[in-house]
Assembly symmetry: C2
Homo-oligomer: 100 residues x 2
């Protein structure tokens, strides 16, 4: 499996709107086992996104999906920058959903 | 929801054993929506654990479960330390499992 943990910094006041766009864009992505959008309680402009994919190819392919391209286009103006970013190799656990 | 993202540093050579203990200990934890154990490809001794709970109380209560106490007891000698740790407030997404 292939995983990403990343922090996205929204422009001031736009975090909730950006989160809604991200959550709305992630249905039915082939090979996506988990994609969770979270607020950072320590930074009013920051979101954490944690992702688990069957493999890195599935993640890369997702960036070409119409729903994801649309979410990126709508979300980009709301993004001020990026914070920490970690790639991972998920092994297992609980809550890994179906790979659509 | 309540979330945690944390890095655990295993003693040299013990990462796989520690990961197996963590994965084996997380079945049926009430209020646990996601608990994923991953290798850090950049550090041969590091694991990432990402967790989503219904709330912080469910996370705290899990630490008293016999299965979790047993996993902690077996895993502790294999832990050399801890790295980054971030609390989060998950909003939604894909792959949030049943809260047993």
């Amino acid at each position: 499996m292939y995983g990403l943990i990343g922090k996205i910094l929204a422009v001031a006041g736009a975090r909730d709107e950006l989160a809604a766009i991200l959550i709305g864009g992630v249905g039915g992505m082939p090979g996506c086992l988990s994609y969770v959008v979270a607020l950072d309680p320590a930074d009013p402009d920051a979101l954490w996104v944690t992702e688990v994919w069957t493999d890195g190819d599935a993640h890369r392919a997702s960036l070409s999906l119409p729903s994801v391209r649309d979410a990126i286009a709508r979300g980009r103006p709301l993004i001020a920058g990026f914070g920490e970013r970690f790639e991972t190799r998920p092994l297992g656990g609980h809550g890994l959903g179906d790979a659509a």
